[in-house]
Amino acid sequence: MKPSPVPEKRVLAVDPTSRGFGFAILEGPEILIDWGVKQTRVRKNRRCLKQVQELIERYEPDIIVLEDCGAKGSRRCLRVRNLIQSFRVLAANRRIPTRCFSRLRVRQVFSEQEAWTKHQIATAIARQLPELKPHLPPFRKPWMSEDERMAIFDAVALALTYYRLANLRRIIPSAQGLPLAIHAA
């Protein structure tokens, strides 16, 4: 059964980093509207919150997708956990629903494309959305710190996870909390 041609929701995905956040706005799994990295060095949470507020006002997303930092195995610091919580409060005040996905969930979704590591996921995204190809960071060596542009790919990965799971739910309405392997079967 094919999913009905329902217009896709406009999604704002935000991925906080140590110096700011990466974001992506999509209107479907293949329609990337805007993307980028915002950086700040002082009063990080307050400034990040203000910048996300501006993005919400400009793009009026239907849903905001964030990382589930409360999930098992999450290694986010307290500041980032608080920031993500603030994003959720901001969204709730504006009556915008939020969805949170753990890194494990994202990896499960991308495992369909045989992408498990961050770099493999970023490469898979660059293949799907060629406009992101110039932003693809080089393969990270053990002595290198993470490229700031990786936050864009992490944000896009969250948004694509949302679309993938939303489409599955459209096909199999009863498939709410089932693991992905069962959906695909």
């Binding site: 406009r10 990337l32 509207i33 805007d34 406009e131 110039p134």
Partner: protein
């Protein structure tokens, strides 16, 4: 329900073309990057000439570049067409009126 589009998608296409705001402003004929920034932040609506220049630069029809504005114009025009059709409907017996009405109904929203 029609999904509301953004007023314009200039930022998307500019970034895809890997152009800076300054470069796009130059291609659009004068002005600074600040003007392009205002278009992209939906603070200002470009004129017809600029809109057509955008179509030339990106190779995308104006109605797609300015999808939200197009949606709004289409809706408003449809509403006015319905109103006009109702007004003309009273004078259906007059010659040429039937043709005019059928022309109007062609772009009436369903």
């Amino acid at each position: 329900m029609v999904h509301p589009k953004l007023p314009n998608y200039l930022r998307r296409y500019r970034k895809r073309a890997r152009l800076s705001q300054e470069e796009l402003a130059f291609l659009l004929g004068g002005g600074s990057g600040a003007k392009v920034s205002r278009y992209e932040r939906f603070k200002r609506i470009p004129g017809l000439e600029t809109g057509l220049a955008c179509e030339v630069v990106f190779g995308v029809p104006v109605r797609e570049l300015f999808a939200g504005i197009f949606q709004k114009v289409e809706r408003n025009t449809g509403r006015r067409a319905r109103l006009l059709a109702r007004r003309l409907g009273a004078r259906q017996a007059e010659p040429l009126m039937a043709e005019k009405l059928s022309r109007l109904r062609r772009f009436l929203p369903s």
